[in-house]
Symmetry: C3
Subunit: 235 residues, 3 copies
């Protein structure tokens, strides 16, 4: 086994973890009533969203967890989550910035995951799969812990598709002999641009948000809210 | 650590993965409305059902994931899921064949998991446990990702019981000095026959199906459907 | 990698696993109607609650699962769960004893997890995190498999806080040069006392129980039960 070919520098990694923490806090603040999360719950969601992708990646590769090598990952995730909780009004106004940074972060995590998998000798297809899991794993774990169906499976799939696009470009370019840095830059660019275009042209994120908001409404009141637009089965 | 004593040949492994993918697609096609799965969701369910058992087995044994050693596992699972999605009418008519093949597949996965665990030096009981997890792990992971309670815990337990029966026979025969191939054949036979008898005599599968169908009905309309038979608490 | 600095003796480990199994059975016996668990379901919950913490700990540390090294873990968990199921009336009257023993068990698991993590070279913060996961991991896994939101994220957070307190004390004392046995005793004491005080003064457990009871009521009848106290959104 050789070293990963492409390593996110610690500051970038921690930025990603911090962003995950903030997003986790904003997600968590949407819950009211019985499902309301306390301080600890928000911190857990922050840890899960900030570190879950890297954790799943390393479990799938059967290697020691990179996010446990330094104290800073957990500290960053928790502080970011608590900051996001306290300043949720501020961050909600910065939503565009967060979505933009998140698009870059997905790209970085996907590229890091794919190249780490390639470095450990995985074939092309599983390497891309590991990259996608690294990019979207935090959200999957969050939904599983919240008892929600995993969001990317239902609507808003362009999130995972954007990650997959970048990972495929990286892996293909690398297989064709391109230098890894160039391949990684291309991969990150593809993911980021795809993701941003999807958001700008309303391809998926808004639906996903509506889904969540509606779910939250149902769950927090304890009774399902019946709305005309709620499904296509009811008469 | 020695090599696994009993290895499923790649074609059999891929057949199992493909069957899992088709079953995942048929399962997914039952969801409507808000829970409807798109193309990507069906592919994910296919991957989870086709590869989840092997993944859980290898995580429990702390070894590199076998399903990541070749490109074909993921490709097979995704293609099978998409085929199952497009031809769901055809496959639903082939239900008997699929249930029959599935019974063999559970047996094979259980036998493979148990013997791999024995090869890595696990005692008898944990080895049987790993075999059962390999046989039913895909379904467990699927339910956790869908936000559903794990089906085998509620009704239809004969699914796991059939797997356990075969794994116990294999492990016991091996402990008593039987040649492994004979032990494995006996184990696979016990699991397959138990499972088929359970289906034929309506011991568990129909209840499980009803459970799912009812759940789906509740979830897809957005409002719980009240039926006289629905519980024993309501007045 | 060196050996863990602090090892729970097998009898204590099995006591913890057995207690987890009994608690799993008592938890499972609260479900009625569609969510009712059969014999196998209760056994699975027993395994998950008795062995889940150790399993998550070892997965996070990327080491072979300790609970698979002996036949007794699985046997103890299953027997305890079935005993708990059959004698649930008796055990419910022993509730105080069980809560008390559980408080010690959380402390032991947290201390074992933290010191094992430290022995494998993890920095302080991740080592504490692994300890907390070892202490509360069984409950998390149980909720994920039941399709429930993870309880410790919502109310009753003092459960995890008690675990974290003890783990922090252990790790800090060890970092400051205290002998490990003394550090471990201090850590276990902090966790146990915090947890017991929280229970005695009704800080968290009762709310958590109410949450579960209400959830169970909703889920077993198939229709949400509307109560005045149910949320703060409804008019």
């Amino acid at each position: 086994m050789t070293e990963p070919l492409f390593v996110i520098p610690l500051w970038a990694d921690l930025t990603a973890v911090g962003l995950g923490g903030v997003q986790g806090a904003l997600f968590a603040s949407g819950f009211r009533g019985e499902r309301r999360l306390d301080f600890l719950g928000v911190a857990i969601i922050g840890i899960v969203m900030g570190m879950g992708g890297g954790l799943i990646r390393d479990l799938l590769l059967n290697v020691d967890l990179a996010t446990f090598r330094s104290n800073w990952y957990l500290i960053t995730a928790v502080l970011a989550a608590l900051t996001g909780m306290l300043l949720s009004n501020v961050f909600q106004r910065l939503n565009r910035l967060i979505v933009g940074l998140d698009a870059v972060v997905i790209g970085l995590f996907g590229a890091f995951g794919t190249s780490k998998a390639l470095a450990f000798g995985l074939p092309l297809v599983p390497a891309v799969f590991v990259g996608v899991c690294a990019a979207v794993g935090g959200g999957i774990l969050r939904d599983m812990m919240m008892g929600l169906p995993v969001a990317i499976m239902h609507v808003g799939s362009l999130y995972a598709v954007a990650a997959a696009g970048g990972c495929i470009v990286l892996a293909a370019a690398h297989a064709l002999g391109a230098p890894l840095v160039a391949a990684a830059v291309a991969g990150v660019t593809v993911t980021t641009v795809t993701r941003l275009l999807a958001v700008i042209f309303d391809v998926s994120l808004p639906e996903q948000r509506m889904l969540h908001r509606r779910k939250v409404a149902v769950e927090t009141t304890g009774i399902p809210i019946i709305r005309p637009s709620d499904g296509d089965e009811r008469p």
